[in-house]
Structures are given as structure tokens and as C-alpha cells.
Amino acid sequence: MAQTSAVQDNMRKEVKAPYRRQGRLVRTWNHNKALWLLFLPCLLYYLIFRYAPMFGLVITFKDYNLFKGIWASDWVGLKYYRMFFENPDFWPLMKNTFLLGLYKLVFGFPAPIILAILLNEVRKAAFKKFVQTVSYLPHFISNVIVASMVIMFLSPTGGLINNLLGTFGIGPINFMNEPGMFRGIYVLSEIWQHIGWETIIYLAALTAIDPQLYEAADMDGASRMRKIWHVTLPGISPAIVITLILNIGKVLEIGFEKVFLMQNPAIYDTADIISTYVYRVGMEQGNFSYGASIDLFMGIISLIFIYSANYISRRVSETSLW
């Protein structure tokens, strides 16, 4: 590829011989202007909607005033950070966010791996395809609908689950008002929603395993479980490690939408997490500076998480994101 572009460059130089004396800058410009023009909308998008908000984070050090605007608002230093650390909600919020993310990691991470391995062992192609098609489906259903389904099925009056429990003589349980149950319900619903979709990455990795390894294991008289343990798992371990790093990095970045839709004040004890709190104080109560400060604080902790996960992985398994 380098060769062709060298040839190209030569051609261009010959064609444009009279212009050769132009500065390098002009030549670069001439060569790239069409590509840069193609890239321009994308660049503008990132500058306006991704980078401008990052600079907007100065409001976390200011007393953001709607009417004065960002620049004219008064500097207040670390006032809002101090406010957050001294807030009695600080530790409960940190704990809720961290525990919800941790539960999701511990229970949600292995689930698609198990499903992928079992699917890989299925010999009937039609059955395998059927299970896959069905298990992907919930991934495309909106969070609003998933949250609605969860809340309605768990309803103490006429909900599917309580009807079922009722036939065993277990009295109606008001699941969505029990703080102790929220994390379990949330994590189960996440697994239900995404298990199929997340198997795709492992199924892709499984296709790359050399079939000769299985044949060799057969020769040695390995059982199904042994083959899974000694051939399949090592074969997909790079994919597992990469996904694990990404997931550890995302422990604190739990999707706002679904938690927001599933929570209610009765279960804030366990269901209120940083992002929903940010929405409440920032957007609903209009305390922009305070909300943004909390968000930035969490963003930085998240960054530390992903960086550390990547660092450890590079040391231990020589697999890393960068």
C-alpha cells in the first residue's frame, strides 16, 4: 500500500511540476481539501456536541447563572465539590452506583460466555439459529418497554410473577417497593435484555478456534467438559479479557435510562445512583453547576477505573485496549 501511494505521489509530482515550488502547506492543502471537506461535518459534530460540553465543564468551578451565561458567572473554586463530599447522600450514592455496577459485572459478565459456549456445542444448525434469533430480540426493545414489563409483571395486583407465586401460596410481594430487591431485579433484567446480543462477540471468537485442536483433544480421549475447559475457553480468552476490561471500565457508567425508568422514591435507598441524582439536582432542580460537578467527579473515577483495568490486564495477560 505504501508503494502505491509513493507511485501516486510521483505521478502527482510530475503532473504538477510547475507548482513544485509551492510551500509544503499549500501542497498538503491541495491534496487533502476534498477529504477534509468530507470529514468536516463529522469534525464539526465532535467539536460542537462532544468537545464544547467538555469545555462547558468550567461551570463546575463557577456559580452558573442562567442569565449571566457561562463566562460572566462568578468563580467559586471547589465549592460544589465540597458540597457533594459533605452531602450526607454522598456515600449512599457512591455505594449504590458501585454496587449496582459490581453486581452487573459479576453476574452479567459470565452469562453471555456460558450461553455462547452452550450454543457452540449445539450440533443442529436450525436449533442453534432459532435460539440465537430469539435471544437477540430483547436487545432491540426500548428501555421504556423493558422497564414497563418489569414493573407490570412484578406488580402486586395482577402481575404475572405474583400470580405465579400466588399459586404456591406465597402472598403478593410488592417487589418494586422493596429496596433490598432492586439490584437483583435490575441485574436480572439487564441479563435478560442483553445476554443474546453479547454472545455475538464470543461466537465470533469461537469461529476462529482451529478445529484440529478439538480433533487432537478427541484423540486424547477428552470429554466434552474437558474440551470446553482446555480448548474452547483458552480460545476465546482474549475476547473475554478485552470485554472484561471494557466492562470494568464501565462499572460506574450504568445506563441512566433504565435505572431512571425503574426507580421510585420508595427504593431510592438502593436505586438512586449518581446519574439519576445528577439528573434530579441538575436538570429538575436546575442546579447546573452542582450536577455537572458530580458528573465530572464520577467521570474521572471512571477513567481511573478503565485505565487501571487496562494496566493490570497488560501486565497479567498481555492483552490490552491500547
Binding site: 468530507l38 470529514f39 461551570i59 434469533t133 430469539v134 428501555n143 450536577g291
Partner: protein
């Protein structure tokens, strides 16, 4: 070859996979059955996955509510417009980034990748959108999320796979870079355009956070917000709806299920046909990831 005899492993894994299938499908069948059953049977809680006392009253009610149609119209507008804008911006950007000879390519890529790990967050983004006067407009729905970095990288990978020779032949025919993109790359990448369009369209159709943050006027609300108001917030739709049935609580349940079915139906019906495109897209992302 592996032995074909029935083993304990096969039995256990088949049962496990069947359980996955049932747990995934049963909720939808149950909702469909309840929404199609007569209220007497709904009150008695004796419906599992087959409607009893079949009727479509609930659907007539849901479809007779003008709010549903407004929301449907809004969702379709946002989805179509949003997908078009996203596709244009993502594909042109991805093509430029896929060209190894573009100056500043590395810097641009870096600029984009950084946003995967760090962002300004909800509130500063809201302030930017508001300062652009996009709050409560269609633009607030389609522009702030126009590019997904994941899709951009996916598309760049697609384009990098196209042989260089095709571009060179275009150049010999006198096309410039934009011409090459329009006349050669786009026609060659129909499948990848379809895949990315599907990803964007589903994202837009299901989007809840943008309308929550950026819309104020109920007439602009898409289906997801209406759904949340009807089903979750429990502000049981328009006046004529709450009046029916003996036991409001229970009738409301089948009404809610009917509303869920009506708004999910497009995805449920299209899904089997487009599923392979999604999977192809995710596979490419996975292998390169």
C-alpha cells in the same frame, strides 16, 4: 468426529437453551394474550399465553387515541431524519478516516477516540444544545446524537476493506475524492450502509433520554415518552379511556399491554428480516475490536 450419542451434557444444555427461549418469548406472548382477552378473564388472572374471550377492544381504544398517532408521527420523523443525517455525517467522516493518505488522520482519530472515554456529561451537553436554540425542536432530537463513535469506527473498518485499486481506477477516470466516495465507495458499500442505518434507526426509535432532556411540548413527544407517561407514570391516557370496564385497575393492565404491543410491533415485525444485518455489523465490530 464427536460421538452422536445422547449424553447428559446434551440434555442439560438443550434444556438450558430452551429455558432461555421460553424466558425471552413468554413475556411477549403473555402481553399479547392479555391485551386480546376479555376483561372478565383478565380480572380472574387466568391467562397465560393464549387469549381467552378473544377481542380487539383494547386495540381499538389505543388506536382511537389521537395522542398515539401524534407520537407515532413524531417518532417516524425523528427516526427517518435522524438516520439520514447520521448516515451522511458518519459515512463521509468514516471514509475520510479510512484513507491512509489523509493528512491529520491520526490526530482526527485521536480526537474521536478520546470521546469514548471522557465526555462533558449530561448538563454541559444540555447547555450547549440550549445555547444553540435546539431545545424543543426537531434538531435537538436528531443532532446531538448524530454520530455514534462505535458506528463510525465500524464503518471506517468496512471502507478500509475496499481494494485501493478501485479508487485508483476512479482517479484515472478523472474523479476527485468526493467523486470517488459518491460514485465508487457508496455503491460498493450498500450492505454496510444498511447495517449502520439499522443501528441508528433502532437507536432513534427507542431513544428516551433525548426527548426527556430536550423536549418540552407534548405535541413533539415521540412514542417512548408517551409510553412512559401512559404505562409507567400511570397517568391513564385520555378521559374516555379510564371510563370503561368494571375494575379499572385490571382493565388498565390489558390497556397498557395493548399500548406496549402497538408501539413495539414495528420492531417485532421487522426484526426477523433485518436481524442478519445487525449480526453482521456486530460481528465485524467484534472481530476488529
Amino acid at each position: 468426529m464427536r460421538s452422536p450419542k445422547i449424553s447428559l451434557f446434551n440434555v442439560v444444555s438443550t434444556i438450558f437453551l430452551l429455558v432461555v427461549v421460553v424466558i425471552t418469548l413468554y413475556p411477549f406472548l403473555h402481553m399479547l394474550a392479555v391485551s386480546l382477552s376479555s376483561d372478565v378473564n383478565v380480572i380472574k388472572n387466568n391467562i397465560s399465553f393464549w387469549p381467552k374471550g378473544f377481542n380487539v377492544n383494547m386495540y381499538e381504544l389505543v388506536l382511537g387515541d389521537p395522542k398515539i398517532w401524534t407520537a407515532y408521527k413524531n417518532t417516524i420523523i425523528y427516526t427517518v431524519l435522524g438516520t439520514l443525517i447520521s448516515l451522511v455525517v458518519t459515512s463521509t467522516g468514516a471514509y475520510a478516516l479510512s484513507r491512509r493518505d489523509m493528512a491529520l488522520r491520526k490526530s482526527f482519530t485521536m480526537l474521536i477516540v478520546i470521546t469514548m472515554f471522557f465526555s462533558g456529561g449530561m448538563i454541559p451537553t444540555f447547555l450547549v444544545v440550549r445555547s444553540l436554540d435546539m431545545v424543543d425542536t426537531v434538531w435537538g432530537m436528531v443532532l446531538p446524537g448524530a454520530v455514534s463513535t462505535w458506528n463510525l469506527i465500524l464503518m471506517r473498518t468496512f471502507f478500509s476493506g475496499i481494494p485501493k485499486e478501485l479508487e485508483e481506477s476512479g482517479r484515472i477516470d478523472g474523479l476527485n475524492d468526493i467523486g470517488i466516495f459518491m460514485r465508487i465507495i457508496v455503491p460498493l458499500s450498500k450492505a454496510s450502509f444498511a447495517t449502520i442505518a439499522l443501528f441508528y434507526a433502532v437507536g432513534m426509535w427507542n431513544n428516551f433520554i433525548y426527548p426527556l432532556l430536550y423536549l418540552r411540548t407534548p405535541d413533539l413527544f415521540p412514542l417512548q415518552v408517551l409510553l412512559r407517561n401512559l404505562v409507567l407514570a400511570g397517568s391513564a391516557s385520555s378521559g374516555d379511556v379510564t371510563g370503561i370496564g368494571g375494575d379499572n385497575q385490571v382493565v388498565e393492565e390489558s390497556l397498557k399491554y395493548a399500548t406496549i404491543m402497538v408501539s413495539t410491533l414495528p420492531i417485532l415485525t421487522v426484526y426477523p428480516f433485518v436481524q442478519k444485518y445487525f449480526v453482521k455489523g456486530a460481528m465485524i465490530g467484534a472481530v476488529k475490536g
